[in-house]
């Protein structure tokens, strides 16, 4: 029994109080994964139970099928089979027949479950630093136990049996017994802390009187340092030992966020206390639970760090927004998720606007809009509110995706992020329609209804007010605002896709009219047609004018009358949109036209991409004089196509203008570099930005030396960081980085002096290394000679010298978040890739190991993934995949798969030696059963599989023996579905029955060549069949066989769906004992988990069992 074994163990006890709402309650279904259940009692009577987790292994019985369509449908079916919203669960408890009578009288039932959790792979995460040394030292470590902490993530059924649904609310009493040196932080109010009798452990008693769903319950245990917020004593912060000073600084503004939300929502924070816990190896950066939030410890920073500060504040603001919408008010069903994500994202946006300013806010909205547009155009639409018609899912709303969006658990992580992004953008569209006042009134109304409901007893049936559905939200909006937002919802919520506009114009001088043409592309993937109003802003000589145009089915052209005649010689100031009047040099513009610039949908009130054509001088005017940052950014991206001296001047002017938003100026740097490269033959003067940088940041007396660092002005700090990075992208006629640019950057590094600065320069130095990386160009190689030190290019030698020194210094004086190591690793990979130094993965492998800071590991892994692709190395791919399976940090595993997807070693369309049967099998096994403990990881694996092999059978697999199979149902022979060629998306839509991504129609086809039918599918088929029959409550006969395995009974159920849709679980009482040090239960519990968890899997069910009798029928009906 090693120490680790003792560490990673939880023994618990759950008590549920159930108010039956229907008669004939014989079965109770709960969610539970990887727990070992010892005993279940209902009202003091031993209750038999069945434990079946179909998601452990998605596709059973070694099948030749290796296509993703099949997997996705099987996986969806498996998740559906235990979906708590549909009344299913992994754990089925049979109510003893003695209590049936009581249940029929709708009396309270109490369910007691004893369970333990051994070495959990998911759900609970233990972080125990591995201390080397003798047993004594290890022992000391165990008893001192100063380094243990753990945290939990979203999937609650992983760590205690519950109803893992956001819609089943109940109040909670939680008790945790932990070692005396630990603190257990959980949801609700800490009532008291009591020592155990031996005084070596403490029990934390929590009560959460506000009805809360199980997924909003969490726990964190560790030797935390405690900080009571100096402004709000109800708020407590927790961090790991030694980080208290950072915690103090990072949390010093949290009260401002609180005040802001409470003010705009005119509603008190709903819980009586709030806790923030910072843990290592966090699953996600921010996760919110009822009255507590768990953050990654890497968000903590000291006062010296500039770049991390806004990021940390954003994370805190996000977490707090989710406390109101997401935790306190939770979703009615998965389809309503968008409302909560939308509202929390929206109020978070309001916070951003207030704290970071309107420019930052608009910049962020544009970024988010660009992100969602890019994703949808690439991957297909993101659907916010999917509707599934009844139990049948024939019409799959998202046929373009390789996964099902019916459950959160089958969703790709990237898709979910985009989903959240779109949700808040849509919420903003609603605000545009009904005004912010109404919007906030709606939120206030929802919150006050919920808080009234939360104080009521369960019997008053008010708790459903705390659940928010799309319908209720829309109703509330129409009540408050009196406006009909139906079309908006239909367009953006019920439908997926974005709008793609192409705009161009001509000026008709005779009529003094602007003829605007707006076309749409609504046929390509991820797009939709837009019909409705659109705003166009025209800046003329006489001022700025808004025009509302109607986009209709067939009209492309719009005539907009102009207000001003062209008049170029009158010296008069030109009024802008914001009322400002400016002098402009009008010599660049067209003499005949009064138009300065035109903007389509300037307020971003459509989820769209606009490609607008206007002359280069118009973009330049827009960049110089339009005050909206979004317009400026659009102008910058447009100017990339116009490499002229005028563009150069406009960009340089913006760069120098201190009133201009710094992110615009940063973007201008990169654009200027691109323009300079395009104009390389005609470029006059020193390299772009060099004289500017010298003027802004170098000493007056000696212009080659940079001033000693002083980052007190953040705008110029960010500019100082960005300019060298952009300058390094400059190329001369030979397509090399100009010598004086490289020397300039080397000088910046040499003369960098941070001694007098009150801020750390780690990000600046990291960016200087990035600049060095950017300056690299492919090496000229003769006859593929081996790269040695001797034939190293002189410039590269200088660069390598700097990188070596930086990387070595980092070992002695590590920088914040090891930013410099990260930059160095990227630089080394770039040197390798460009053939300056030999390509070698061993350095990256050592930095990718567990035990390095997570950012460093990710950077090293990124390099390794790149190496794998470039060198087609199967060894490295195997190394990465084994890390995906074995690494202790969930985030790293997730990230590796994400990196592999982004930079795949090969794709379905390319041939590669890496693509072989063994790899298919390996990935398949991982998806199928290896990643059963982590939804996110499994979906990542599915993504990778899709990226590598596509939807259908991987091309490297041998063809199955049977080309044709007989479909008994349709009474005809069909092509074996396993060898169906991959069809395009369009084709899928044409023939949904033949190759839908999931749904029973295809499953029936695919079941044919399976030896037996998958359990969960059988469950569903079976129960759906049952559903179709009229149910006669109380008259069901339950055939169940008692298969005696130790102390458990197997029951097979028939009437689950009918009963469980109506059951409410209310008073959820949990007593969880967290054993961290000792394992007294280990002995007592002799049985091994293997035997128990899937115990009905391997052993064939007895013929008399209910399932046993049904399965052969199902198979026999359709099989061969």
């Amino acid at each position: 029994m090693s120490n680790e074994d003792l560490y990673h163990k939880v023994v618990g006890y759950v008590e549920l109080t159930i108010f039956p709402t229907v008669v004939n309650l014989n079965r109770i279904k709960l969610n539970s994964k990887q727990c070992r259940i010892y005993r279940v009692r209902v009202n003091d009577l031993e209750a038999p139970f069945l434990y079946n987790d179909p998601t452990l292994e998605v596709c059973h019985h070694e099948s030749k099928q290796r296509n993703l369509n099949y997997f996705s449908s099987a996986y969806t079916a498996a998740v559906s089979a235990v979906d708590p919203d549909a009344g299913h669960g992994e754990l089925v408890i049979k109510v003893p027949s003695e209590l049936w009578k009581q249940g029929d009288d709708l009396k309270v039932l109490k369910v007691y479950i004893e369970f333990s959790l051994d070495q959990p792979k998911g759900g609970l995460h233990f972080v125990v630093p591995d201390v080397e040394g003798s047993m004594a030292e290890r022992g000391a470590h165990v008893f001192g136990s100063c380094d243990e902490k753990m945290k939990i993530f979203s999937c609650h059924r992983f760590w205690f049996p519950c109803v893992d649904s956001y819609s089943e609310l109940c109040t909670w009493k939680l008790e945790f017994t932990v070692d005396a040196s630990m603190v257990a932080v959980s949801c609700g109010d800490l009532v008291e802390t009591i020592y155990t009798h031996d005084m070596r452990k403490k029990t934390f008693h929590y009560i959460l009187p506000i009805p809360t769903a199980a997924p909003n319950i969490s726990l964190a245990v560790g030797p935390f340092e405690i900080l009571v917020d100096p402004y709000m004593h109800e708020v407590t912060h927790f961090c790991l030992p030694q980080l208290l000073p950072l915690l103090k600084h990072s949390m010093s503004f949290l009260h401002e966020i609180f005040e802001f939300y409470e003010e705009i929502l005119t509603c008190r924070y709903p819980y009586s206390c709030f806790k923030t816990v910072f843990v290592d190896e966090a699953y996600v950066q921010v996760s919110s639970y009822a009255s507590m939030s768990i953050f990654s410890t890497n968000l903590l920073h000291s006062a010296m760090i500039i770049d991390q500060t806004p990021q940390t504040r954003r994370c805190l603001a996000q977490a707090l927004a989710q406390q109101f919408f997401g935790c306190f008010i939770s979703r009615m069903s998965w389809a309503d998720e968008w409302v909560l994500k939308g509202i929390s994202g929206y109020i978070y946006g309001l916070y951003l606007k207030k704290t970071f300013g309107v420019n930052e806010y608009r910049h962020w909205i544009k970024q988010e809009l660009d992100k969602i547009v890019e994703y949808e155009l690439k991957m297909g639409g993101v659907l916010l509110h999917p509707t599934f018609s009844g139990g049948k899912e024939k019409d799959n709303p998202t046929p373009h995706l390789h996964f099902s969006i019916k459950h959160p658990h089958t969703l790709s992580w990237e898709y979910y992020k985009m989903f959240q992004c779109k949700a808040h953008l849509v919420m903003r569209l609603i605000e545009n329609r009904i005004s912010m006042e109404f919007m906030l009134q709606v939120f206030n109304k929802l919150l006050s209804l919920a808080s009234t409901a939360s104080s009521q007893k369960y019997q008053s049936h008010m708790w459903s007010q705390m659940l928010l559905s799309t319908h209720a939200f829309l109703k509330s909006i129409s009540n408050v605002s009196g406006k009909d937002i139906g079309p908006l919802i239909k367009q953006w919520v019920d439908q997926s896709g974005v709008v793609k506009f192409f705009g161009s114009f001509a000026f008709n001088r005779k009529r003094n009219v602007l003829e605007l043409e707006i076309r749409q592309d609504y046929t390509s993937s991820g797009t939709q047609k837009y019909v409705g109003p659109i705003k166009v802003t025209v800046q003329e000589l006489d001022g700025s004018f808004n025009h509302m145009l109607q986009i209709e089915e067939n009209s492309l052209k719009h005539d907009i009358p102009c207000h001003s005649k062209s008049r170029r010689n009158k010296k008069k100031k030109i009024p802008l949109m914001n009322g400002e009047e400016v002098d402009m040099d009008l010599s660049a513009m067209d003499a005949d036209s009064p138009l300065l610039w035109i903007r389509i949908d300037p307020d971003m009130s459509i989820l769209r991409k606009v490609e607008f054509e206007q002359a280069d001088f118009m973009w330049q005017y827009q960049l110089r004089y339009e005050r909206d940052v979004v317009a400026q950014e659009e102008a910058i991206s447009a100017l990339e196509k116009f490499p002229t001296p005028a563009s150069r001047l406009a960009l340089t002017d913006i760069l120098e203008q201190e009133q201009c938003f710094y992110k615009v100026r940063m973007q201008a740097c990169f654009c200027l570099a691109k323009i300079a490269n395009a104009m390389v033959s005609t470029w006059q003067g020193p390299p772009a930005m060099k004289s500017l940088f010298t003027r802004m940041f170098c000493c007056k007396s000696c212009p080659n030396i940079v001033k000693t660092n002083n980052f007190i002005n953040f705008q110029s700090y960010f500019l100082q960081k960005t300019m060298p990075v952009a300058m390094a992208l400059l190329r001369d006629v030979q397509n090399l980085c100009p010598k004086d640019v490289l020397n300039f950057i080397l000088d910046l590094i040499k003369y960098n002096d941070n001694r007098k600065n009150k801020f750390s320069d780690n990000y600046y130095r990291a960016d200087l290394i990035e600049a060095l990386t950017n300056s690299l160009t492919p090496a000229i190689s003769i006859n593929n000679e081996v790269r040695t030190v001797d034939n190293l290019n002189a410039d590269v030698r200088l660069i390598l010298e700097e990188i070596t020194r930086f990387l070595n210094m980092e070992k002695l004086l590590p920088s914040f978040r090891n930013t410099i190591t990260v930059s160095c690793l990227r630089a080394i990979r770039q040197l390798q890739k460009n053939g300056h130094i030999p390509s070698d993965p061993s350095l990256f492998k050592s930095y990718a190991q567990y035990g390095h800071f997570v950012d460093v590991r990710i950077a090293a892994l990124e390099a390794l993934v790149d190496y794998t692709r470039v060198e087609r190395s199967s060894g490295e791919l195997q190394w990465l995949l084994s890390m995906v399976q074995n690494d202790p940090v969930h985030y790293v595993r997730h990230k590796i798969l994400g990196l592999l997807c982004k930079n795949p070693p090969f794709t379905k369309t390319t041939d590669s030696a890496l693509c072989n049967e063994a790899l298919v099998d390996q990935l398949w096994k991982f998806m199928n059963s290896g990643a059963s403990h982590d939804w996110r990881l499994r979906c990542d694996a599915v993504n990778l599989y899709y990226m590598l092999f596509g939807l259908t059978r991987p091309s490297c697999l041998p063809l199955p023996e049977l080309g044709l199979v007989l479909n008994l149902k349709e009474k005809k022979a069909v092509l074996n579905p396993t060898i169906k060629p991959e069809l395009g998306v369009g084709a899928v839509m044409d023939t949904p029955a033949s190759i839908g991504i999931h749904g029973f129609n295809t499953m029936e086809d695919e079941d044919i060549d399976m030896e037996t039918v998958h359990d969960s599918q059988a469950f569903i088929h079976h129960h759906l069949n049952l559903l179709e029959r009229p149910s006669t409550p109380g008259k069901h006969t339950h055939t169940h066989t008692h298969t005696h395995t130790h102390t458990h009974y197997i029951h097979v159920l028939k009437t689950l769906l009918i009963q469980f849709s109506a059951i409410l679980f209310i008073w959820h009482q949990i007593t969880t004992t967290v054993i961290s040090m000792y394992g007294p239960y280990e002995q007592a519990l002799g049985n091994s988990g293997k035997e128990k968890l899937p115990f009905n899997r391997k052993k064939p069910a007895k013929p008399a069992s209910g399932r046993g009798t049904h399965l052969p029928q199902l198979v026999g009906g359709e099989g061969d």
């Binding site: 005396a180 405690i226 000291s302 006062a303 750390s760 050592s846 035990g851």
Partner: protein, 300 residues
């Protein structure tokens, strides 16, 4: 006797080299004393019944006597300075004698013994004058507002700034250049040293010395070094803005949770919570409350 040892330590070394015939007044003074001591020694010898003595023996005894007296003087002075006085008193001398193992009670009897010889007092010679310190420049006379009885100004060189500078290195460029080069050299030398003495990784298979990289070593708690500012940075921060820290709130915060945490770890004794309660009656946070003892259920 006592007047002799007032001379103190300084005289000892001078005495020992006094054999040489010199004619400076200070030496003459010392020689006279020495001669008296020799007379004393001879008288004592005579008193004890010696008729003659070798010169060397007398010299030795004189030396011993002189050391003994000097030690009494040194010691007595130390005692007196210990009690913050500057002039030794009788009691200092007595304590000294006791300290040196001399039975003081026997002294009066010895002094009044009958056969003692009376020696003539040493010839009066001028006390040695301390040689004038090297003086440079003209001493300043007192300005009008300083009364004349105040001490004189010291020599000008002790307070006057004499600017002697080499070629000025205030050229900004040179300074920066020098600082940068120096730092880089130090960094390079240091990292090379560490790399030479420890494990390394190399970017080139054939050459492991040109660009040696210190091997990456996983740590047990990697986030600590990555998040906490290094001592160097902290130092720099203190130097730059020690004034900007708002010590007050900071100080308060550090005290409370730290102390409370400790308390929560300890079994609550009667004293700790009560002092606690008086301190933070403002902050009532459940995590700061002391841990309760379990209820005793054994009733036997």
């Amino acid at each position: 006797v006592f007047s002799v040892h007032m001379v103190g330590e300084g005289s000892v070394s001078i005495c020992s080299i006094a054999g040489k015939a010199t004619s400076s007044p200070a030496e003459n003074y010392l020689l006279a004393r020495r001669r008296t001591l020799q007379v004393v020694v001879s008288a004592l010898l005579t008193e004890s019944g010696f008729e003659s003595a070798e010169k060397a023996a007398v010299e030795t005894l004189t030396e011993m006597l002189q050391s003994y007296i000097t030690e009494i003087g040194r010691c007595a002075k130390a005692y007196c300075e210990h009690t913050a006085r500057s002039v030794p008193t009788l009691s200092d001398t007595v304590v000294t004698l006791i300290e040196m193992g001399f039975n003081v009670d026997t002294l009066p009897i010895y002094a009044k013994r009958s056969q003692r010889m009376v020696i003539t007092a040493p010839p009066v010679t001028n006390a040695p004058v301390t040689p004038k310190a090297l003086s440079a420049g003209q001493k300043r006379t007192h300005p009008a507002h300083i009364p004349s009885h105040f001490p004189e100004f010291p020599d000008p060189h002790t307070y006057i700034k004499t600017p002697t500078f080499r070629e000025p290195v205030s050229d900004y460029q040179v300074v920066r250049e020098k600082a940068a080069t120096q730092r880089r050299d130090v960094e390079r030398a240091l990292t090379r040293f560490i790399a030479k003495t420890g494990e390394t990784q190399s970017l080139f298979k054939d050459d492991i010395t040109t660009f040696p990289l210190i091997a990456a070593r996983p740590s047990t708690i990697p986030y600590l070094s990555a998040l906490l500012p290094s001592e160097l940075e902290l130092q720099a921060l203190e130097e730059t803005d020690s004034s900007e820290q708002d010590d007050q709130t900071d100080g308060e915060n550090t005290d409370d949770p730290g102390a409370d945490k400790e308390n929560s770890m300890l079994p609550p004794s009667g004293v700790v919570p009560s002092t606690k309660a008086s301190e933070d009656n403002v902050i009532d946070n459940p995590y700061l409350r002391p841990v309760k003892k379990p209820k005793v259920r054994r009733k036997k």
